[in-house]
């Protein structure tokens, strides 16, 4: 009887995800988000695609929590956007800000976005997607030679260098192709 209740307590504990050291999402949460979808919500805003995508990969808003976007998307921050001037007209900035906030990681029912939201909850919001714990963990086994040392990749920031369907919000392993390492298989 006692043993049984202990097991039950353990199961409930697991279910509630109290031991979520590795997983960014617990079972309970996964079960009760019926709108849940795979991957990351794709970008469906032309202004965002044009403005942000003209200099770099148009990172889906679901790749960062709203606290991060808040730090990035204001006039002052954009004047020095990782060393570049990325100033936007007031009206354009407002449109982009609203779109991003409505689609940030915490607002999304897409699996990876949820994991990113959970991985960044309660901590100092990262400025870079590559600083998100979940993203780091997903890439940690890839040797430096394939990223930094790879002239066709250079940095983890260039999602679409390896993720062939990144523009559709698909980051699944099966869609990964690392340039100059055709035989790599996870």
């Amino acid at each position: 009887m006692q043993m049984k209740s202990k097991i039950a307590a353990l199961l409930i504990g697991l279910l509630l995800g109290s031991g979520s050291v590795v997983a960014e999402e617990n079972l309970l949460e996964a079960m009760f988000t019926p709108l849940r979808q795979k991957e990351v919500n794709p970008v469906n805003n032309k202004l965002y695609k044009d403005e942000c995508g003209s200099c770099h990969f148009a990172y889906q808003p679901g790749l960062l929590p709203p606290q991060s976007w808040e730090k990035l998307l204001n006039e002052k921050a954009l004047a020095d956007h990782f060393g570049e001037n990325a100033e936007l007209e007031k009206a354009d900035l407002a449109t982009i800000y609203d779109f991003v906030m409505a689609n940030a990681a915490d607002k999304s029912y897409y699996k990876r976005a949820r994991k990113i939201a959970n991985a960044t909850e309660g901590i100092e919001a990262p400025l870079r997607i590559t600083e998100v714990r979940y993203i780091k963990r997903k890439h940690h086994e890839i040797p430096d030679s394939m990223i930094k040392g790879n002239k066709d990749v250079k940095s983890l920031s260039y999602c679409d260098a390896c993720h062939t369907q990144a523009d559709k919000g698909v980051f699944d392993e099966d869609t990964v192709k690392i340039p100059n390492f055709p035989d790599w298989d996870d």
Binding site: F57, E84, N85, A86
Partner: protein, 131 residues
């Protein structure tokens, strides 16, 4: 008589004036209103490759756009492809006033650490639309 008329039409067709779009026309008019009396294409050509050290990095227009306007360039940091500057290759170049001004603002600051003057912008625009 007929023949010479056809010939005339032919020559007229192939000696059309330099490329201009409503956007570039209206911008050049705006710069003129801001006090630009004359544009200097030779200066723009020289300025295109003039290097300025910004935040420890030598930068010029050519750092990202290159010097062959028929070829695409590459963003100096992200490596993102920048479409060719020539309107003959990139059809929608210089067709939107807002876009031209936006990139003048950003890129002058990135490459020279300051905004360009109306004179400089008029020179560059006149130089670029002729490419």
């Amino acid at each position: 008589m007929k023949k010479s008329f056809v010939l005339f039409c032919f020559t007229a067709l192939f000696t059309t004036v330099a490329y201009a779009s409503p956007a570039s026309d209206s911008l050049l008019a705006k710069y003129k209103a801001e006090g630009v009396a004359k544009t200097d294409v030779a200066k723009a050509k020289k300025d295109w490759t003039a290097e300025v050290v910004v935040e420890g990095e030598k930068m010029s227009c050519a750092s990202c756009h290159g010097t062959d306007f028929s070829k695409s360039g590459k963003h100096h940091k992200t490596g993102k492809v920048i479409e060719a500057m020539s309107h003959k290759v990139t059809a929608d170049r210089y067709t939107e006033e807002k876009k031209i001004e936006k990139w003048f603002k950003r890129n002058c600051k990135d490459a020279w650490g300051r905004e360009c003057t109306a004179q400089e912008k008029a020179d560059f625009l006149t130089f670029l639309i002729a490419q």
